[in-house]
Every structure is written in structure tokens, then in C-alpha cells.
């Protein structure tokens, strides 16, 4: 049945000729590609792992985090991205501010892509270890070689169409797993009963794993170790807005749409399936931990004595799916890991070659020279990903390390974007030093605090003194993002007031809200307008929050 995988590959490859990128594509395709670009290992394995580790509170990543952020991107930020025709975040920063801001962001973005691809690599290697029984080291090497071949064969040329295909592959490959699991535990009520065992074992109220808001009055009452303020501001505001508004791996998909209105509708259309994604990725994690607690030995125990939550979904696949359907499930998983890795390594290659190497290190060389550099960057990117993959082995939930990286990179960046887009007084010097301050404060916060039960080092607290101990890794990430965002926001404002603008109003046209002509809405029925969609999405996610309160 692994043959299906190869058959899929061949169909995907041979149909590539038809898919010309750069043309206008329908909004629903761009929308599916928009969420699919983020439906990699981090989503499938990471959200499953979080579902097991933190319970239904993981849904806040969707109904408090992604939904409002995607609405914001569609309504307010897309006009600037689409209007400026910037192809990457660093490019927008160069147009809006200056070269040094672009350079700084290019470096942090490159680091982020390496971590993202390293995390995908770790997930794929773990899967190979589990399925083929290889050692982890051999699996990592194999994974690196496969990705290298995949990229050099041009596996990303029709990225958007592959992503749409993958979206359906993941949905249709995972749905039977969820249905079987739910049937086995006796539906939602059966699952809640099992989860109450998990919660009481961990010393919480019985409903701590199955209520998303009820126990957020104090960090000590819920498994995520966060109270409502830290969650809404840290995750909902700083981190989610930061991610969805500034991660160009995602935003680029919307810019492929045919018109400004289509580009604005893309994130909004994407939000609809995204809203129901928790059923597909978080629920399996909750099923796995419920069974782990009541039937025993479901998840392997890591070296830290904690279950390895990352394996929640792979273990569930192996447990329920027979030969045949198992092939489909594994193909879906591998496809998402592969594209997650390839997408990030390719982004690393682009940013390194054009935004760092060509701009700062060796300007004015021949195209062939930069092409060679690009190839070298790909190889280097994969080697760096291997290092990141080994760093990921130190976390029992890859979502913890992923959100940590986001809190460093996207947290401060979102403050810079917000000010840059909505306050024309923001200067280049201020943006640069604000970003620097934000990243520095993130590192300082991370170095001075620790999650409970960790030892100083990769989990934080490496500066010697520990000022505060958070109940969980995720709580630490939320607060890191919040500190980084606030410090960047405040310092950018203050420095802007003390420096002079270098860009004229004319140069900032289309880049700043007050200097951009109001968008002329295309004539369309009211129910198709971005605003209507946006309101519908916000109402629906509020209802979901209330249902699982």
C-alpha cells in the first residue's frame, strides 16, 4: 500500500506542467492553499500532541488565535501586501523602512524557516522510526537526502496546487481515524469520562481536559498553565496575529489570487475549514491521551518520564487503521511533512540568497553565481535543519518548540508591521531598533524564566537566575511573545518620536493606511463581500467557544 504513495507522487509530478504559477487563481483554491501551507507537521503532529498534553484548550489556537487573526489579515492587511506587490516580508520592510530593517528580519526569518523545517524533519524521522523500525539517526539522514532530491527535482514548482491536493488528502486520510476513535471510546461523553481520569491523575478538576475556558481563572487550574489574560493577549493577540499577518509562507498564497477583492477573501474563505480543523488534529490527541490513561501504555514514555505526546497521532493511526487505509493515512502524513520541509528550505534559500547574500555580502555578481549560492544554501539549510531536528527531540510536544520560535520572531515583527502600516510617522531607525529590542527582550525573558520541572538550558533559564517558573512550556511561550511585542511596540514609538522620517509621503503610498486610497469594492452581492464573511466567521467561532466552554 506504500505503492499508493508512489502512484500519488507520479500523478502530482506529471500534472505539474499544467499548473502555471503566477497566474490568477480562484479564491477557493488560494484559500485552501492558504491553510494548507500551514497544515504541515506542526499542525498535524504538533496540534495532536498539544491536544494530548493540554486538552481542548489547544482549540484556542484556532478559535481565539487563528480566526480573528485571519479576519484581520483579510480585511486590513491584505490591501497593503497586495497593493505593494512585495514578494516577501523582508521586501515589504525594505519598501516601507530601509535596508537594515530588511536585513535584520531576513536573518530572523531564515532562523525560523530552519527550525520549522527541522521540526518537520524530526516528525518524519519519528514516523519512519515507528513504521520501518529504523534508528532515529538513520531516519534523519534518509529524510535529509529525500528532501534534497525533492527540492532539486523542482518539487515545489506547483506548490499551490500540490497544497490543495494535500489538504484533501489529509482531511480524507484522517477522518476515518477520528470516527473510529470516537466510536471506540463511546462518543464525546465517553471521551469526556476518559479525559476526567487524565485530569484527576494530573491533579486538576475532572473537566480540565474537556473545557476550554472554564478553568482559566488561574494558571494553576488548567493543564496549559495560563490564565485568560495571558492566553488572550499572548496567544490570541501577539502570537496569532504575528503568525498569520507576517508569515509570508502563508500570506503569499493569498497574493496569488486574481484581484484585490479575491486576495482579501482568501484568508476569510480559508478560515471556514480552518475552524473545523480541531476535530481532525486536536481530537485524535485527546483520544490518544484518554486511552493512554485508561487502557495504559498507549504512548511511549520519553527520557524525561513524560509520555512522548508527539507520537499521539502516529500511534493512533497504527492502532486503528488496517493495511490499506493505513497506507492512505501514512501518505497524507508524509506528504505534509515533506512539503513542510521543502517549503521552508526553499524559503530559507530565497531569503539567504536574495535578502542577505546579494544585498549585504556580495552585491553585483552574475546570475549564475547567485544560482550556485542558492544550491549551496539549500544544502546548508538541510544541514541546519538536522541540528534543529535534534533540538526538537528535547521537547515532548513539537508545538511547544515551534511556538517558542514564533514568539521570538513573529511577536516583535507584528508590532513593527502594525506601526508601519497604520502610523506613517514610524521611522526606519525606530523599526530596526524596535525589532532588535523586541527580540532581545524575548531572549531575556526566555533566559530568566523556566517551565516547571525543566532544567536550565534549551527550555529556558540559561541566564543563571530564574525569576519566574511557568506551569508549562506553552505559558512561557505566550508570555515571551507578549513581552517581545510590547517592548518592540513601545520602543518603536519612542524612537520614532526622536528620529526624522527618511521616506516621503509619496514613497509610502500604498504601504501606509492613511496614504493609501480607499479600496473600491467590486460590485458583488452582500453575502460575498469580505465584511460579511468576516462577521460570519467571528460569530461562528464565538459559538464554538461557548459550546466547548
Amino acid at each position: 500500500m506504500l505503492g499508493i504513495g508512489w502512484a500519488l507522487r507520479r500523478v502530482i509530478r506529471s500534472s505539474e506542467d499544467f499548473f502555471l504559477s503566477g497566474r490568477s487563481i480562484p479564491a477557493w483554491i488560494a484559500g485552501l492553499a492558504f491553510i494548507s501551507a500551514n497544515l504541515g507537521a506542526q499542525e498535524v503532529i504538533g496540534m495532536g500532541a498539544s491536544g494530548a498534553k493540554y486538552g481542548i484548550m489547544t482549540s484556542h489556537f484556532y478559535w481565539v488565535g487563528a480566526m480573528p487573526a485571519m479576519v484581520f489579515v483579510g480585511l486590513f492587511m491584505m490591501p497593503f501586501y497586495y497593493g505593494s506587490r512585495a514578494r516577501s516580508v523582508p521586501e515589504y520592510l525594505k519598501l516601507r523602512f530601509d535596508e537594515k530593517t530588511r536585513g535584520l528580519n531576513a536573518i530572523t526569518f531564515a532562523i525560523m524557516t530552519v527550525f520549522s523545517s527541522g521540526i518537520s524533519m524530526y516528525a518524519l524521522a519519528k514516523l519512519l522510526e515507528l513504521v520501518l523500525g529504523w534508528s532515529f539517526h538513520a531516519s534523519i539522514i534518509l529524510t535529509g537526502v529525500i528532501v534534497l532530491i525533492y527540492i532539486f527535482l523542482g518539487g515545489l514548482t506547483s506548490a499551490i496546487y500540490n497544497e490543495v491536493l494535500q489538504f484533501f488528502l489529509i482531511v480524507l486520510g484522517f477522518l476515518p481515524l477520528v470516527l473510529l476513535g470516537l466510536k471506540d471510546v463511546g462518543g464525546w461523553s465517553g471521551l469526556t469520562a476518559k479525559l476526567s481520569v487524565v485530569a484527576t491523575n494530573a491533579g486538576f478538576q475532572p473537566g480540565a481536559w474537556s473545557h476550554s475556558w472554564k478553568y482559566m481563572d488561574s494558571p494553576t487550574h488548567n493543564p496549559m498553565g495560563i490564565e485568560w489574560f495571558g492566553l488572550v493577549m499572548g496567544l490570541g493577540f501577539a502570537m496569532s496575529f504575528g503568525y498569520w499577518c507576517t508569515d509570508f509562507l502563508v500570506v503569499q498564497r493569498a497574493m496569488a489570487a486574481g484581484s484585490m477583492t479575491a486576495a482579501r477573501r482568501t484568508p476569510l474563505i480559508a478560515a471556514v475549514p480552518k475552524m473545523f480543523m480541531p476535530a481532525l488534529v486536536i481530537l485524535p490527541g485527546m483520544l490518544a491521551i484518554g486511552m493512554h490513561a485508561t487502557r495504559g501504555g498507549f504512548l511511549p514514555i520519553g527520557s524525561d518520564g513524560q509520555p512522548n505526546y508527539n507520537l499521539a497521532i502516529p500511534m493512533l493511526l497504527a492502532h486503528y487503521l488496517p493495511t490499506g487505509l493505513l497506507g492512505l493515512g501514512l501518505t497524507a502524513l508524509m506528504a505534509s511533512f515533506m512539503s513542510g520541509m521543502a517549503g521552508n528550505v526553499t524559503a530559507f534559500n530565497t531569503v539567504w540568497t536574495y535578502d542577505i547574500y546579494q544585498t549585504f555580502l556580495r552585491p553585483g555578481k552574475s546570475d549564475a553565481h547567485y544560482l550556485r549560492m542558492g544550491h549551496a544554501a539549500t544544502v546548508f539549510g538541510i544541514l541546519a535543519s538536522v541540528v534543529a531536528a535534534y533540538a526538537a527531540t528535547r521537547f515532548n510536544n513539537i508545538n511547544d518548540i515551534l511556538q517558542l520560535v514564533f514568539s521570538f520572531v513573529n511577536g516583535p515583527l507584528f508590532a513593527t508591521f502594525l506601526l508601519g502600516m497604520f502610523w506613517k510617522r514610524t521611522t526606519g531607525h525606530a523599526a530596526f531598533s524596535g525589532l532588535l529590542t523586541g527580540t532581545f527582550v524575548a531572549a531575556l525573558h526566555y533566559g530568566l524564566t523556566m517551565p516547571r520541572g525543566a532544567s536550565p538550558g534549551i527550555h529556558g533559564g540559561f541566564l543563571g537566575t530564574t525569576l519566574h517558573v511557568y506551569p508549562s512550556e506553552m505559558a512561557l511561550n505566550f508570555w515571551t511573545a507578549l513581552f517581545a511585542w510590547t517592548s518592540c511596540f513601545v520602543s518603536t514609538i519612542v524612537i520614532s518620536l526622536f528620529t526624522t522620517r527618511t521616506k516621503t509621503d509619496d514613497e509610502l503610498r500604498g504601504l501606509v493606511y492613511s496614504l493609501t486610497p480607499r479600496i473600491q469594492e467590486e460590485a458583488m452581492p452582500w453575502y460575498k463581500r469580505p465584511v460579511t464573511l468576516a462577521i460570519g466567521i467571528l460569530v461562528a467561532s464565538t459559538i464554538l467557544n461557548v459550546i466547548f466552554w
Partner: protein
């Protein structure tokens, strides 16, 4: 003109679904112990086939139905690329 993405998606899932149905029929029932005694290959195969055919039908309708095909065929006979237009 671009190829409608629903063609490859529809084709792929129809083929995969048919393969799963066939495998579900011929496979040893003992392997379905892990899936709670349900022949998931058979049933999910049916779901995939239905989904695949739905995608194909939508793509077919978007391309103008049979009339669209006839136009494309006559265009091909007169030496034009049927995909253009």
C-alpha cells in the same frame, strides 16, 4: 487556460477509492479487528469514490458540460488546442 484542479483531485481519489474497495472485498477479515470489526477499507473506499466522482462532476460542469467537450473536440479537429479558450 489552466487545468481545473478538480480533475486531478477527482481522478486521484476515485482511483484510490476503487483500489480500497477492491482491497476491502478481497482482504482477510481478520485485519479488521483493529478497526472495531468494521471493514473500513471497503466503506472509506466508497466515501472516496463518491468524493472523487463529485469533484469530477463539478469540474465537468465548470468546463461547460458535454457541450463544452463537443466544442473542444471540434476545435481539436480544426487544429486548435482544445485547452485554449
Amino acid at each position: 487556460m489552466r487545468l481545473d484542479i478538480r480533475w486531478p483531485i477527482g481522478g486521484l481519489f476515485t482511483i484510490t477509492g476503487v483500489m480500497l474497495v477492491i482491497y476491502g472485498v478481497v482482504s482477510d477479515p481478520a485485519i479488521y479487528q483493529k478497526s472495531l470489526g468494521i471493514n473500513v477499507n471497503l466503506w472509506w473506499g466508497v466515501v472516496l469514490v463518491v468524493f472523487g466522482i463529485l469533484m469530477l462532476v463539478l469540474a465537468h460542469r465548470a468546463s461547460g458540460g458535454w457541450a463544452g467537450w463537443r466544442r473542444a473536440l471540434s476545435a481539436e479537429e480544426s487544429g486548435e488546442d482544445p485547452r485554449v479558450g
